[in-house]
Symmetry: C2
């Protein structure tokens, strides 16, 4: 059954192509009588506009690319869900692209190898450097998310990682934890790690403590199990700490499980704070205190900037910071 075209409808209704097009798109300049007749023909034939053709004619695809490391990571799945909702408000659909933290995939995102597929891309790189991004970025509207420093010309939205890391560390200190460690993997997101480390150290210094290099626990593998392994190794090496600020929630959950598996208590012996506020933090044992970025604001800000770019704004890159909150749960109850 070959698809029914505008022409077919026009023939049936006995009007021109243009008129049918006007009716379909709810344009003015069509008499009620004609409109009704055309609508009847549309329904009868079951006409559905061909998006591809419309796109070619208008140059607008109605699609945005959302590129980030991994849809399977809870934080990104949740980010995607919010972004879907937000995009729908502007009548846009999202095409998801996973980079898997691979530089070549991140480069491919910018290479814009499929012109005309999307109207713009919202991109959270983790390993590309600013200079490379500037180099590769074509003229497709681009909004960056996350901690990689954007080039001068590109819009960017993120939360203040230094401040949030400071908040997390201060919280641990306030709850009575004296020696707070920082758990992260350097393999990924090194600029992010750096920022959070800065905030962490600032909190310690303000509390009159000197950051102890021993308390920087580096993971070998950037996975949940890797987090557990690193914590156990630190404990076995006699590193003493009673507070742990983790790079993300999954690492925190891995760490809590490991801590409890060696007979220590959370938060009794070690208080733990995560980052992202993924759904699972409510159901881990114990539930996890975490930094909750305002994902709604993140998405709406990113999309708003994207829409301006699409409409033609071509100025210098804007940098927006969105809020975060410390969500206190059982992993840091007062001791």
């Amino acid at each position: 059954m070959p698809a029914v075209r505008l022409q077919d409808v026009a023939n049936l209704a006995g009007v021109s192509l243009k008129t049918v097009s006007n009716v379909v798109r709810n344009k003015p300049h069509v008499s009620p009588a004609t409109r009704k007749r055309v609508q009847k023909a549309v329904d009868e034939l079951g006409y559905v506009p061909n998006m591809t053709a419309r796109r070619l004619a208008t140059g607008r695809t109605g699609m945005l690319e959302l590129a980030f490391p991994d849809i399977q990571a809870p934080y990104y799945a949740e980010l995607a869900a919010h972004m879907f909702d937000e995009a729908k408000k502007y009548d846009y659909r999202l095409l998801i692209e996973q980079t898997r933290n691979l530089p070549e995939n991140e480069r491919a995102v910018l290479a814009d190898r499929e012109q005309g597929l999307v109207d713009g891309v919202i991109f959270e790189p983790v390993s590309l450097e600013t200079s490379q991004i500037a180099l590769l970025k074509g003229d497709l509207p681009l909004v960056m998310l996350g901690e990689v420093e954007p080039p001068m010309t590109v819009d960017h939205v993120a939360i203040d990682n230094i401040a949030a890391a400071k908040t997390a560390t201060e919280h641990l200190l306030k709850r009575g934890h004296k020696r707070v460690a920082f758990l992260a993997s350097e393999e990924v997101n090194s600029s992010t790690v750096k920022r959070r480390l800065t905030g962490y150290e600032a909190a310690l210094r303000e509390a009159g403590m000197d950051p102890d290099p021993q308390l920087y626990i580096a993971m070998e593998k950037p996975t949940t199990d890797g987090a557990g392994d690193a914590v156990v190794a630190a404990l076995n090496h006699g590193v003493e700490f009673d507070g742990l600020f983790c790079y993300n929630d999954m690492f925190a959950i891995g760490a809590m499980n490991a801590i409890q598996s060696v007979g220590l208590q959370v938060p009794g012996d070690i208080g733990v704070v995560g980052w992202n506020d993924i759904t699972m933090t409510k159901y881990s044992m114990p539930s996890l205190t975490t930094i909750a970025p305002d994902v709604d604001a993140l998405c709406s800000t990113a999309l708003a900037m994207m829409m301006e770019r699409i409409k033609g704004y071509d100025g210098i890159g804007r940098h927006r910071t969105v809020d975060y909150q410390l969500r206190e749960r059982d992993s840091t109850k007062v001791i």
Copy 2:
């Protein structure tokens, strides 16, 4: 900067449009010398093919829609990740559409309101009925996932829910749990619930027990918290059980937390089994024994059937069953 077109490249290279097109698509029938010259022009101009135009000309979009309830649900996020990988093998991209369990959204998926946007749709409905699907399904290739009975003409892939539910229940029985309850929400996926209930009851009967209606714990809200609430309510009502087979992993995790919050132990007092084997099951406390569908096989089978449909296969709907495994973890250690 107006996009560079095939024509521009042809002009620069001094050849015809067609030749450039051949070079770009790596078609034969181009002399090495010409190919090189054209390639140089392509690079110089930074030519990128316009996908929309290509699509209109070929009628192939290179895109598949993947429609399911909710990207935020871990199982679907993981399914999507696998599906992305599988689709890439066929050079297809995926457009995700969330139905949020809403019938109107499920209907919209089938209504094919955007002809020419995708070449086919892979769809896991939960609330639509077979007859409605048959009615709404246009002529876009369609492959169904999950437990809703497909119409005669549509392909379908799923795991044997009755057998898997029986396996899960038998496992609990084998581990020494005498009174096994079944936890689910009837609001959603009622056909799925029915099948699992059938398997659950079959296992009980084979073990010489009569299913006790009291042991069917119905949730009011189909959420993780709803699962916990339902279990606590049952316990408060004096329902006695020492085994719990849950509709899905998140419900199981909610149930385990609730059980432990009232002072009972898992698996000591109550053994728990989930469904889906989401990543989190390894990190819950205790880790969760669960039914692990072979998601890889699910995706590859679905995509293979989709490719046949796209290539023109127009026969009767095929029904494929993929494997599952019982993944034993700490929530059902021998008691």
